[in-house]
Amino acid sequence: MAKKKKVTLKLDHVSKSFAKIENDEVTHALNEIDLTMESGEFISLVGPSGCGKSTILRLVAGLIAPTTGKVTVDGKEIVEPSPERGMVFQKPTLFPWLTVKDNIAFSLKMQGKLRGNEEKVETMLKVIGLENFRDDYPGQLSGGMAQRVALVRSLINEPDILLLDEPLGALDAFTRMNMQDEILKIWQEKGQLAIMVTHDVDEAIYMGTRVIVMDANPGRVVANIKISEKYPRDRSSETFVRYRNEILNRLHFGGNRAD
């Protein structure tokens, strides 16, 4: 597993609707989405809640199936979750009954690949600087530490696609900025395709090579903005502010939404 292979992820006329529990109505979370993404890209998905950003991630992860349309990786349709597409959730969802080390090793163990790969677990521990917490249980970790563990837990498979569902949403501002840089560093080293859902426009611009702006009712893509600035980005630079204004405009901030 020396060089990562290039992959192309395609959403082809993808719609996803959910039946409501309380009545007979149906929510249209995504409507006719067409997107193409490639290895080496860092895609930020922003938009109001209910616009279907997380639904896109869950479709790509294979946790749910589209109502109509197709989600494909290199032409192959996604039918079930796979360690090839690692996902980090907003909650760390570490298994509380496993130590930090065993949490990181979980995926290898499930695939029967742990034997002979123990050093990978150690490498991951080193990447996030938690070697001393190897044998601790998740209950003893802080939010930031737990999320770091969750991150490397899915990275250990060296996934072609890394799905980040608001992974930094629950963290404090400082931890958050630190982790933004850490995630960028990992992504730059491996060059996989990363797709991150966020509520934070600044975070989206700071991290993404492309920001996809979405709107709700029904969930759709309203803008696809390439961020061509070099890393590390300056949050107060003129271009940064321009990008921010453009995105906020697309999200109709200040004005009434015309649906």
Partner: protein, 357 residues
């Protein structure tokens, strides 16, 4: 008892490198140093059980008996052994403390008042039974009589104990094993729950003891019938607990596990079961207490062996001392069994330690 070395310890902890602080040192640093008054009080509390033990011995020896008392040395011996055990415990705690580990001594200090109470209780009981007969002899026999009869009838008592244990564990383990299977499959699979749920709803509310008369009539072997009753109670407790445990597993865990490459079977064994473990073990404890109740009722009502039977049998011969002896054995067995379960629980659920506190 060893309270004067504290100040030295404090200083040495102060100079310890903070980076290499052990848990014990941290606690020493953060707890306030006890005042001289508190230390003296601690000392008194720890020595007091010895005083109480001597009171119990003197009470037994000096106060004249109200009724006859054969083999008077058995109880005396037991008291002395007991007292010596306490003193040894104290000495071990003291040695540990001198070597730098305060933990044993703290536990010892914590338990000391209970030992005092125990010795006083024994003295009081002896006074009320043997000495004054306020509790009439031989209906409420004195300790000495109970210990003597337990020794004399030991062969029979041991046989009964073994029988009870065999029945208890056989029924319990069958029940727990089947309960785990039904509970886990019900928790995980809707289809299985569809069929098992009505059975649980229908049979569940019936107390296990209700079955005993019926089993006595239809069972071909009483032993088998009793095993069935005990197993039924345990099965029910474990099924319900593990079913709830499994169906309460956060769906996020399953999703995370699936994206990490876990297959269906692994979701059950690597995610659902570990997650439901606290609930499952809770069910096992509950099953044990239901099994203990069921076995006593079964033995008293039909099974012709075991401690429960021994008690009713002793009563029919008016051997009240034997009854009490059996009662003590039952008490010891159930305490030990519960303690073992508790230890297992703590070991298995050690990951909860940080979370619960």
């Amino acid at each position: 008892m060893g309270i004067n070395k504290d100040s030295n310890k404090k200083k040495s902890a102060g100079t310890t490198n903070l980076a290499q602080l052990t848990r014990q040192q941290l606690r020493d640093l953060e707890t306030k140093e006890k005042t001289v008054g508190q230390k003296v009080l601690d000392g008194i509390i720890m020595v007091f059980p010895v005083v109480c033990g001597i009171i119990a011995i003197l009470e037994y020896l000096i106060v004249p008996n109200g009724s006859s008392n054969d083999n008077p040395n058995t109880y005396l011996g037991a008291l002395i052994v007991f007292l010596c055990a306490y003193i040894c415990y104290g000495l071990i705690a003291l040695i540990n403390k001198l070597r730098g580990s305060k933990l044993v001594l703290e536990k010892f200090r914590y338990r000391a008042p209970l030992f005092s109470a125990l010795f006083l209780l024994l003295a009081g009981y002896d006074y009320l039974t043997l000495k004054t007969g306020i509790f009439t002899q031989p209906f409420v026999p004195c300790m000495n009589a109970i210990l003597n009869i337990a020794w004399i009838d030991r062969a029979y008592l041991i046989e009964s104990t073994l029988h009870t244990l065999r029945l208890l564990f056989l029924g319990y383990f069958i029940g727990v094993f089947l309960g785990l299977i039904t509970g886990i499959t019900c928790g995980y699979s809707r289809k299985v729950r569809y069929w098992i749920d009505p059975i649980i709803k229908f049979l569940g509310p019936i107390p296990t003891s209700t079955w005993i008369p019926i089993i006595m009539v239809i069972a071909t072997s009483l032993f088998g019938g009793a095993v069935f009753i005990i197993a039924l109670g345990s099965w029910f407790a474990v099924t319900v607990a593990s079913m709830t445990g499994i169906s309460n597993v956060d769906k996020d865990f399953f999703e995370a596990a699936r994206t990490l490459g876990a297959k269906e079977r692994q979701l059950v064994f690597r995610v659902a079961i570990p997650h439901a473990m606290p609930s499952i073990l809770q069910g096992c404890t509950q099953a044990m207490s239901s099994a203990c109740t069921a076995i006593m009722i079964a033995e008293m009502m039909g099974v012709k062996a075991g401690l429960g039977w021994y008690m009713t049998w002793a009563k029919s011969w008016s051997s009240y001392d034997k009854m009490f002896a059996a009662l003590f054995v039952i008490c010891i067995i159930f305490t030990v069994v519960t303690k073992i379960l508790d230890l297992i629980k703590r070991r298995v659920l050690r990951w909860q330690n940080g979370v619960v506190k």
